[in-house]
């Protein structure tokens, strides 16, 4: 039983309980569709539902056959490889460009800040189907459609806004006099940037990179437009898998993706905390 302040009426108490259970309910609906995928991916039968055997925890009802199917299917393996390659390069491009843009946009001498910022953030705001269609027509002109370079550029453009936002946020708390201090001690602007500015905005850069990677990793619309058969990514493969052969292979891939995402998040959170500590923001007592 929860302890309430003495002045609470019955309505206060009901309100508190209502809020509490609504919150749990929302969380439940957010998490369950993700969590439920994991046991289902070990289904011995080609169904998306729990079989009687699974519910009674009969070992025979579980198997790793869908995982075998993924590993032995060259299409899936290619898709996984493509996703990582495109995600990796798109993240690097987006992080470098986004960080530079954020630094430039935070300068007091930068004219037309708002307009430029709005333009650079637009890929995030404009519906992705429009971005994808635009890129398709534009990239075709340069022979970039159906190529890895084209996909990397496209995904980098989608990732840049996230990097700009996270880096701008860390820069807004950045003390300009630190930069001036570096210069006054004889370090060139570039050296000051790498020695002083970069270590301090690193948490923002890492978060931005993370968002950029995830954006590329689960992007499907642009891939549908731009990718040739050789550049199928995981989401694209799942998309066609859903239409063509409905079996729990998709669930196995999804489980792998969940594991990758969680590992990824933990690693980056670890990196972020570490650089946050280096920033000297944590109290050492």
């Amino acid at each position: 039983m929860q302890k309430f302040p003495a002045y609470y009426t019955i309505w206060h108490k009901l309100g508190v309980y209502a809020l509490k259970y609504t919150a749990w309910l929302v969380l439940f609906f957010l998490i369950v569709p993700i969590v439920v995928i994991i046991p289902l991916s070990f289904n011995a039968e080609p169904y998306f539902t729990f079989t009687r055997g699974m519910v009674t925890l009969d070992p025979a009802a579980y198997s790793t056959r869908w995982y075998d199917a993924v590993v032995t299917n060259p299409n899936w393996m290619l898709a996984i490889k493509n996703s990582f390659i495109i995600g990796f390069f798109a993240t690097i491009v987006a992080t470098v460009l986004g960080t530079l843009a954020a630094v430039g946009l935070s300068s007091q001498y930068m004219p037309y800040k708002r307009v430029i910022m709005a333009l650079m953030l637009s890929p995030m705001i404009v519906p992705s189907i429009i971005v994808a269609a635009g890129m398709f027509f534009f990239f075709t002109k340069f022979g970039l459609a159906g190529s890895f370079v084209g996909l990397v550029i496209a995904h980098a453009a989608l990732g840049v806004p996230f990097v700009i936002i996270t880096v701008t946020a860390t820069l807004s708390g950045f003390d300009r006099s630190l930069y001036h201090a570096g210069l006054s001690m004889g370090a060139s602007p570039l050296k000051t940037f790498f020695d002083v500015v970069m270590p301090l905005i690193r948490p923002g850069v890492i978060s931005g990179a993370m968002f950029a990677f995830v954006t590329s990793f689960d992007e499907v619309v642009v891939v549908l437009f731009l990718a040739g058969p050789g550049q199928r990514t995981i989401p694209r493969q799942m998309f066609s898998g859903l239409r063509e052969q409905i079996n729990p292979t998709i669930l196995a891939v999804a489980t792998l993706l969940i594991l990758v995402s969680v590992a990824f998040l933990i690693t980056l959170e670890f990196l972020r905390r570490r650089s946050e500590r280096l920033r000297g923001l944590e109290d050492h007592g």
């Binding site: 003390d175 006099s177 570096g182 210069l183 006054s184 001690m185 004889g186």
Partner: protein
């Protein structure tokens, strides 16, 4: 003064600065600073002190004019090539580097040998008495300790010129006084030239060889603290530095290089003057509260004024007396608290006297 070199080691030649191409923040700043001098820029908030310092450091462009350091124009030199040390109000220590790393940074940039760096860092840590803090991060130091590190970091690469923008502004009163002594000690010991910015006049008066009083984008007066206090060049300086009474009057005569001024009630004051000497013009006479004396009885001294007693304020080490002239101008007199401090009833007549060279007539603008 510890000046031992050129008198124009640092020269500002008609510096002007405008941020928006319309209003001049700095209108005509000209000043020579001697080598080894401790010069303070003193002025009210918004007078452009930081702007001048930023132009010197190279973080702001100079709209017009030239800054010369050791005879070389530096106006078009990149900030990191100027070799000028800087102490910031908020310390600006690199939070991700330890104290020792902070101190080593300017030396590393200059590519000194590791052993030399370690030795120099050690020496400066001793100098600021923080030897045991080498491995700490800035966040683990107190405000005063941080500012000492910032000071050492600005000095460790032996710049000939060090700029300080209100370096003690964030500290409490006691710590400020400690740090003032610390800065003066280091200045004496290492002999660098300092341009110090503050709006605390006590700080300026106690620390500086010379003070440049800055207002409205112009240097109002640049002189040693005593001169500034005892012979203000204009009404702004007289009013800004310390406390002053301003008695309105009219010039009625010239007298051995001084002016004779008739004030309300018909009495006359003979005063020094700089910007007014035309008979018949209106002026204000400034007299400091501690440079006026209460006469025990009526005499016919020169520079005597007759006033009416208003009130007395007991401060402790001294007593403030408030009087008024026939035209209701208030006159404050500071009297040392000894047994002779006179007593008055409200409305009593009193007689005040002051030396001629302590009275300054300024034009009314």
């Amino acid at each position: 003064m510890s000046t031992d070199g050129a008198l124009d080691f640092l020269r500002f030649a008609n510096i002007q600065k405008s941020y928006d191409q319309k209003t001049m923040v700095v209108k005509d700043f000209s000043l020579d600073v001697a080598k080894g001098e401790f010069l303070t820029l003193l002025g009210p908030s918004g007078s452009g002190k930081t702007t001048v310092l930023m132009m010197m450091a190279g973080f702001e462009s100079v709209t017009h004019g030239e800054i010369l350091l050791d005879g070389h124009p530096i106006t078009r030199t990149a900030p990191y090539k100027r070799n000028i040390g800087m102490v910031f109000q908020n310390y600006a220590l690199f939070p991700h580097m330890s104290i020792a790393e902070n101190l080593a940074y300017p030396l590393k940039v200059r590519k000194l040998a590791k052993a030399d760096i370690a030795q120099k860092v050690e020496k400066f840590l001793q100098l600021i008495e923080l030897e045991d803090f080498a491995g700490r991060m800035p966040a683990q130091l107190s405000g005063g300790q941080r500012q000492r590190v910032a000071l050492a970091r600005a000095l460790i690469f032996s710049p000939s010129l060090v700029l300080m923008d209100e370096p003690l502004g964030a500290l409490d009163k006691k710590l400020r006084e400690q740090m003032q002594l610390e800065i003066m000690r280091l200045h004496k010991k290492l002999g660098f030239t300092v341009i110090y910015v503050t709006h605390d006049q006590t700080e300026a008066l106690t620390m500086s060889d010379r003070i440049a009083v800055f207002n409205d984008g112009v240097v109002q007066q640049c002189a040693a603290p005593e001169v500034l206090y005892e012979q203000p060049a204009n009404a702004f300086v007289a009013d800004f530095i310390g406390e002053n009474n301003f008695v309105p009057g009219k010039i009625v005569g010239l007298d051995e290089g001084m002016v004779r001024i008739e004030i309300a009630g018909g009495e006359e004051i003979i005063a020094m003057h700089s910007d007014c000497d035309v008979i018949g013009t209106k002026c204000r006479v400034s007299i400091r509260p501690e440079k006026m004396f209460i006469l025990p009885s009526e005499h016919t001294f020169a520079n005597k004024i007759t006033v009416k007693f208003l009130a007395r304020l007991y401060v402790g080490d001294y007593i403030r007396y408030f009087f008024e002239l026939p035209d209701k101008t208030e006159v404050v007199v500071k009297v040392l608290n000894d047994h002779e401090a006179p007593k008055f009833g409200e409305g009593d007549e009193a007689h005040l006297i002051s030396r001629r060279k302590d009275c300054f007539a300024f034009a009314v603008t």
